[in-house]
Every structure is written in structure tokens, then in C-alpha cells.
Symmetry: C2
Subunit: 368 residues, 2 copies
């Protein structure tokens, strides 16, 4: 049974999920697993639980999307077999409720020092293709768009579930980014509590809105587009840039130019445009750092009551080129070895030179 | 020139140090570098800048300690050749002052969105032995004690330097923990700003003291010793335990049983006792997970004005057995696969069975 515990001094919830030790791990024997070349995605891996023919090795799919009606599936969403978070349908022996409630009603000092609860929600796997690809850059654009459509549909589902407070879609690509399986996939975790760091960011967004009358990220974006020092690429509606104070080298954020609180609000046309920019950006990272592991996280508007004017959704891409070391663990202050200006220039170069007439299709790509 | 930038939304300072890309890296070619056996520390590595004969490859030592007067050096502290933080003696073109000041006096919206400063302080390397050992568990107890004495002396130095606000000693051991050199060493970073996470923890410690009339960690320790579920080992004055809500599997905190704000206050007798417990605990981790990388961080009382009754120093040992993945990057909420109770039992077993009459010398080791 999973359990969530609170570190009062650091103001952090930690999820304990011993069941996750049981999951298979492609990387355990091969420490680095190079990204396959573009033509390797025809071969399926018989041992891979995500390849066609192994559908019964995962729990039953809750969503299947197809690029054409004759395909059994193109994108499959299944419950995670080794969930980090207790399923809503599981019996829960005791529950203190939401974190704020638990914190304020703790009966004794001991309860306050050792606060724990049975957090609940969902943990899903988005299997991104039937072919054994390792990166969504190996997929055709219409297929890749379906993956983001699956994110939208599942986020919309969790938005409708009572008492859910936080939902995030993320990708771990490569062993150094925490992946255990090579076959391209992403995950969704939904929780009935709000991680403290997420709460803090929400409060600050709201604070900025109240003091400036505008969304913080709208203001940042305006200045970034003016300065044109950290822009990687842009389309009509979206921009990819290396944030001014990124914690990790070559981090890229992709966000809509006009204010939009939730990723689920994207129209099909916008989704296709966004997907194209994501694929181009990831490809640029893969060219610049051929075997780099990376994470990406889709940060959409909070699930519970919020002010949509304060939140601006974004996809954060986080290449894992350097290790988090002791100084970072002691202080949460990061040492980054690459200036975002240099990262943006390096990545942008690969996008300008890409096939598919990138410069035309991503028309306003420019650098200082 | 290094630069420190502020991510306003996340309330995090990030240090940019492109110079650190130039440092040598023993691990670049050998991805895993196994911990040497106990008898291998006689061999020096001619290419290692920390071995005897290569003293001129590092800047001049600011502290040398010796286990006996005939030895040229046993522990050497030198300025980091590739500092993360600008040296105090370096010229600083512009400086906005401390973070809080900069935040409140930003002249325009743009300044507030893109706040940067030239942070200053120190970055030192503590070379822990002339022999090419990879772990302080390979050193005799009296030699290992000298390492912690060097920490004390350097921390005391930085405590006396005007305008310094944060100082931490940490160790990166193994490539996965961010080490670039194999030869056993640790580092000290001192900054003229307070990382936000450190500030938050300090505020919470003070809040607990004000509401409960006691130090938070004194209270935790009392309950931990009563429950005896997460104790790894203890001596007369110190206890090693796996914290209730650890972010990483097999994390251990070692702290004094009686309230003590600063590590530098430890007497020589206490220091020897503490060192013995650290060596035993690290050895237990090395036995349980033979090639595990780890960090440790020495968290001592803040450098600037504070209430010593609120702060309790501790050494946090953080084995790096799992990777930080997308969910953690999105939320700062960690998924830990090993319960601290199980970790403590596993590690404690190795300490009970160790040579040197461990059970007698660490007399009160017990488990539930």
C-alpha cells in the first residue's frame, strides 16, 4: 500500500511506492541506451510490454486513438501497472483528507511531526506508438499530434473527477531521466493533494496578476520576443525559448503566445502546430546532444478553483546533461553550466537547417 | 564571469558558471567507476590533480592538516579552480546587493522579470587524503576526523567574513552524484545570498520554536529514539536515522542528540565520535549498495543573525540509487521506493556485524 508522508521542515510531501521497485527496467543491464536511428522503428521488441501482441501485459486501455480506422491502435493509454499513487477504486484504510486539512487538524505534536496519509488519484501510461520507437521525433506529425490529443482527453477526464487537485503529464526519456522502458511513452499522475511547490507557484502567479493586472508569463513572453536572445523557434501561435533562469542546461519552455490557462483548451489546429514545434525542438536537442536523456512536463491550469487569468500553460523540456549534486540537494539552488542565450542559439541553428522547409513553416525564427 | 539569476515564479536563484564545463572529468569515459577495495589506496594516480606531486595543479592551499608532523599533508583545502561562485577578491562590475534587496528595489518590470546579480563568496575543495582513495571509509579514523576538523576551520573562517550568508560543505561521490574526480574530496560553497529553500527552512524552524518552545529536530529526535523504527546506529552523543519523509531511498541524517546549532561547536572528542558514526554509516551504505553514488551535505547554523535555539545542525547522506524524473521536476514532490523503516533495518544490520567491535563502540544500536 502506497503512503504519502510530509516533511514539515522542508514543507514537502513525499510519495512512498515500494511497488515501483518491481517494474521492469530495460536500462538496468545497458547503462546507456542510444537513441535509435530513424529507420529502426519497424522492429518490434518481443520482450517489450508496450509493443503490439503484448497488450495483455498492461491493464486494459482506457483510451485508444488511431491515425486511421484500420489500425488496431496508434496511441494507447493504460493504468500504470506499478502506480506511484493509490487508485481511486482501491480501498483506503484511513484518510486525513487534503494536506492543508491534515496539517491544521493534527491531534498531537507527534501527528504533526509524522504526518502521513493515503493519497489517491491516478497514474497512467501513454504508450505513444505501436512501433518500438524511442523518441516522438521518429513519428510522423499526425501521429505525434495524437499523443498530445490523448494528453488533452485524459486531463479533461481528471478535471471532471471530484476532489482531484493536481494533474501533470510528463515524459522520462532515457535512463538518466528516470525511464525504465525504452519504448516511447509518457505518464500522467493525478493527485488529491497539491504539492507545496505547485501551490507556491500558483500563489505567485496570482500575486503577479493582482499587482500588475497581467499574467506573469504573458509579460515574460513579450520581453523575450522583443529581446530575441533566448528564442529557439516560433510558429504563429507558439514560441519555444530557453528560460532566463533555467536550472538545467538546454532547458526549453514552449508556450502559447496568447494567454491560455489550460493545455486542454488548444484547438485541433493549434495542437498540430504545437506538436510540430515540440518535435522540431526535441530533434534539435537530439542533434546537439545525441544520447541525451530528457524529461518534459506539461504544466496546465490547476484542477481546482483558480483564476484562469493567472495561469499560462507551458511544456517544459529538461535535458539531463548534468547531475544534480550536493550543493543543489542542500539548497535547491542550481548551478547551470550553459547560459540560456547560448543554448537557444545552438538549438535554433538546428531548427533553421532542418528539412521540411523549417524556416518557412516556423517563419519567425530569429536570433540576436 | 559567473552570474546568478532569479526565477521569480519558482522563487529560485540559479548560478550560471560556464567555466565549470572546463573541469576535468574522470567519469566522462568510464561511466561507472567502482569503489576501490580497501587495499587499493596505496597507488597514486599520476594524472590525478589531487595526488601528491600534483600540488601545483591546484591553487595554493589555504589550510593543511597533518595526522603527524612528518607528513607533508593529510588534508589539503584549496580554492576550487573552476568556482561556481565569484571569488570575493574578483572585481565585480555591478551588484544589486542581497536578493531581498534586489527584489524590492527593482526599478522596472523588466528588472523584476530578469533579475540578475554577481553573487560572491567562496568555493573550496577539501582534498581528503594524499592517497588516491575513493571513499573516506578507506581511511583510518584519526585521518577521517581531520577532514571534519578542516570543515570546522573553513566554516569558522567564512563565518567571520563580512556579508556572507550561506555556507555549506558537501560531498559528491560517484558520477551519478555529480562528481567529476574520483580522488576522495568534498567542497565548500559560501554565498552572499540565502537560497530561498534555505530561508524557508530557517523560517519554519523559528516558527516551530516560537509555537512549541522547543527545537523542531530535538522533538523529532526524541520521538525517533522512542519509536526506534528508523534508527540506523547511535553513539553516546550522536544518532544516525532514516528520516520519516526522506526524498531518496536509504537517506540517513546524522545529528547530535543534545541541541547544538553549529557543527563548528563540536569539541574534538565529539568530532572523533561523530566521524566514527559517519564512517560506519557510509560503510553500511557501501555494503548494501556496492557501487552506489551518494552526496552528503553538512547543514550548519546560518551565518548571519539567527536564533541558535531554532537551528540543529545535521549531516544528510543522500544515496543516488534512483533518478529524479519528470514528476519530481514538475512538482518538487518525490516518489521514494524504499520505506525509511526498511532502509534503517537494512543499514543497521551491517553496522551491528561490522568489525572494530561495532556493537560495543556504538552501544545503543537497536531496532524495533
Amino acid at each position: 500500500m502506497n503512503e504519502t508522508r510530509y516533511d514539515w521542515l522542508s514543507d514537502r510531501w513525499v510519495i512512498f511506492a515500494p511497488n515501483r521497485l518491481l517494474r521492469p527496467d530495460n536500462y538496468r543491464e545497458h547503462k546507456s541506451y542510444p537513441i535509435a536511428s530513424d529507420d529502426s522503428h519497424d522492429t518490434n521488441d518481443q520482450q517489450c510490454p508496450f509493443c503490439p501482441g503484448s497488450e495483455d501485459e498492461t491493464p486494459e486501455a482506457m483510451l485508444v486513438l488511431r491515425t486511421n480506422p484500420k489500425t488496431p491502435w496508434s496511441v494507447r493509454v493504460v493504468p500504470n501497472k506499478f502506480p506511484a499513487i493509490q487508485r481511486l477504486s482501491d480501498p483506503v484504510p484511513c484518510r486525513d483528507g487534503l494536506n492543508q486539512v491534515a496539517a491544521s487538524t493534527a491531534a498531537s505534536t507527534e501527528d504533526a511531526l509524522f504526518m502521513r496519509k493515503q493519497a489517491r488519484g491516478g497514474h497512467e501510461v501513454i504508450i505513444e506508438a505501436p512501433t518500438h520507437v524511442q523518441s516522438i521525433t521518429q513519428l510522423p506529425a499526425d501521429h505525434a499530434t495524437l499523443i498530445f490529443e490523448a494528453y488533452q482527453q485524459r486531463l479533461l477526464h481528471w478535471r471532471s473527477v471530484h476532489a482531484m487537485r493536481y494533474a501533470v503529464v510528463f515524459k522520462n526519456n532515457g535512463a538518466d531521466a528516470g525511464a525504465s522502458l525504452v519504448h516511447s511513452h509518457s505518464q500522467l499522475i493525478c493527485t488529491d493533494f497539491l504539492p507545496s511547490d505547485v501551490l507556491k507557484t500558483q500563489r505567485r502567479s496570482l500575486e503577479y496578476l493582482q499587482s500588475h493586472g497581467r499574467c506573469y508569463l504573458c509579460d515574460v513572453l513579450e520581453k523575450e520576443l522583443q529581446a530575441a536572445q533566448r528564442i529557439v523557434a516560433q510558429t504563429e501561435s507558439f514560441v519555444a525559448f530557453c528560460p532566463f533562469a533555467s536550472r538545467l542546461p538546454y532547458s526549453v519552455s514552449i508556450l502559447p503566445k496568447r494567454h491560455q490557462a489550460a493545455f486542454e483548451e488548444c484547438s485541433p489546429k493549434e495542437l498540430a502546430e504545437f506538436t510540430r514545434l515540440v518535435q522540431h525542438t526535441l530533434k534539435a536537442i537530439e542533434i546537439e546532444h545525441p544520447w541525451a536523456a530528457y524529461n518534459y512536463v506539461m504544466q496546465t491550469a490547476p484542477l481546482d478553483a483558480h483564476n484562469p487569468a493567472a495561469f499560462h500553460w507551458r511544456l517544459k523540456i529538461l535535458p539531463r546533461l548534468i547531475k544534480v549534486a550536493g550543493f543543489e540537494w542542500s539548497s535547491d539552488c542550481y548551478i547551470n553550466t550553459v547560459l540560456p542565450e547560448q543554448a537557444a542559439e545552438a538549438l535554433g541553428r538546428h531548427i533553421c537547417c532542418m528539412p521540411h522547409n523549417a524556416k518557412a513553416s516556423l517563419p519567425q525564427t530569429h536570433h540576436a
